[in-house]
Symmetry: C2
Subunit: 256 residues, 2 copies
């Protein structure tokens, strides 16, 4: 059974892209055929893997608009075992253009339908909003991973996010569920981080990943080289944390 | 001549809200009548000033929808000399609802028209996207401050942001101009931060603020108390940095 997971949180800068990129590379390296879908007009997941977003003939935009079959838009084996459905800034116009399109909330799900069975896991990196692009990701996915920065303002948006997930589950995608909540950018030197973790544990008692990602500049440096953390600095704390998270994900997905 | 400045950058988590809140409080404390407009559905600027977004009868949403005059939605003197046009999560629906509304790009500009002359400076905090809410802010404003995190991924979106500003200037708001680019979350211990600053200086040679905001956890703590940095920790590096920025802003606005 293919697993489709969206990385979503409308709060900006909480580690959605960093998690999507590093988890997808980890899964592929562990021998699981993986697809990473970048549905953010910023195309950060695309560039974090070293792909030049300005040089792409087709992107996820063309698949959403129905102009090209998704197989024309895919980049095969950007890493061994990892395909990418890339984004570019043309996607910025899609939110307004899709409003009046038929099945506007299901364009991504429909586009992925013909290729879904090729993958064991599909990860979708979302933009920092709850607009139509994120709604498309949340109807294509069956599960959601919510990265949460260990800071106060990141807590503020959780109620709104959970309400939106409930709405989508009720109206558009009944199997949708919160797979896990991931604490990111944990700075052990501050009291604030530990307080936020406690607060989130109360809010999502059974869904917080055991693994907590520390704040470390290596994760901010890796994208400038177009590399996942395992390729940029394999022995770093950051690489160990994302490998631990990857193993925890595999365990919970009952893949090994 | 009233100055209207939008804090915009579609990259998430770069310090838009932190800058909007601390600059508006600084300006009001310096004796300049200031209005802060929160047009982000996350309503982080509203809560950073200690306002309970769930207890608001009217918000900027009602003013944009034309259901209420803006004077009914304003919170007067949230700090001496500072009014707030608050947001709440109802704003999340506005992007789709506004698509078919008349003058959809000018709803905020039209709403602010009757009260504009009461203020010397108006600051608008934008969501992390280039959708209709941000477009509304960029037609209501005459100038833009672009906060940029000192990290690689924050550089990626600058071309897209500048292209969008040009488009809005040409089609919707001819006086629109980049007032300044503010480097935020500068971590002196990393090489990455200095490299990003150099890169941005090349991209925006004459528009970078002299003041650079350091990465300091005090700025992440202050919002959890509903306080601006000057109220939370007046002698901190963070308070000094935002006071320096405030003075630089006043100097460039030719206010004193
Ligand atoms: N654990 C970490 N420690 C330090 N820096 C990190 C960490 N995780 C991510 N970063 C950096 O923080 C910034 C924000 O992370 P990222 O871009 O992954 O967040 P996002 O939620 O995808 O942002 P957006 O909302 O704009 O899509 C990036 O510059 C990234 O390199
Ligand atoms: N200079 C700084 N040093 C450390 N933390 C900071 C600094 N500036 C802001 N922060 C914290 O970083 C996080 C992101 O900042 P903020 O929310 O202001 O960014 P934003 O651009 O408004 O985000 P969004 O894109 O979600 O609207 C917040 O938790 C904030 O408290
Ligand atoms: Mg991202
Ligand atoms: Mg903000």
């Amino acid at each position: 059974m293919r697993r489709v997971l969206a990385l979503a949180n409308q709060k900006g800068g909480v580690g959605k892209t960093t998690t999507a990129v590093n988890l997808s590379v980890f899964l592929a390296r562990s021998g699981h055929r993986t697809l990473l879908v970048d549905i953010d007009p910023q195309a950060n997941a695309t560039s974090s893997l070293g792909i030049d977003k300005l040089a792409l003939p087709e992107t996820v935009y063309d698949a959403l608009a129905g102009e090209r079959p998704v197989t024309d838009c895919l980049l095969r084996d950007v890493r061994p075992g990892l395909d990418l459905l890339p984004a570019s800034s043309t996607l910025a116009g899609a939110e307004v253009e899709l409003v009046s399109a038929p099945r506007r909330e299901f364009r991504l799900r429909d586009a992925l339908e013909p290729i879904g069975s090729e993958y064991e896991v599909i990860l979708i990196d979302c933009p920092p909003s709850l607009g139509l692009l994120t709604v498309n990701a949340l109807t294509a996915a069956r599960e959601v991973i919510i990265p949460i920065q260990c800071e106060y303002l990141a807590l503020e948006g959780l109620v709104q996010l959970v309400n939106t997930l409930d709405l989508i589950k009720r109206r558009l995608n009944p199997p949708l569920d919160v797979f896990g909540v991931l604490m990111t950018m944990f700075d052990a030197r501050t009291r604030l981080a530990a307080q936020v973790v406690q607060e989130v544990r109360r809010f999502f008692p059974r869904r917080m990943f055991r693994t907590i990602i520390p704040r470390t500049v290596r994760l901010a440096e890796a994208p400038s080289y177009g590399k996942a953390i395992f390729e940029y600095d394999p022995s770093s704390r950051a690489a160990q944390a994302y490998a631990e998270l990857g193993r925890e994900l595999l365990e919970r997905l009952a893949l090994s």
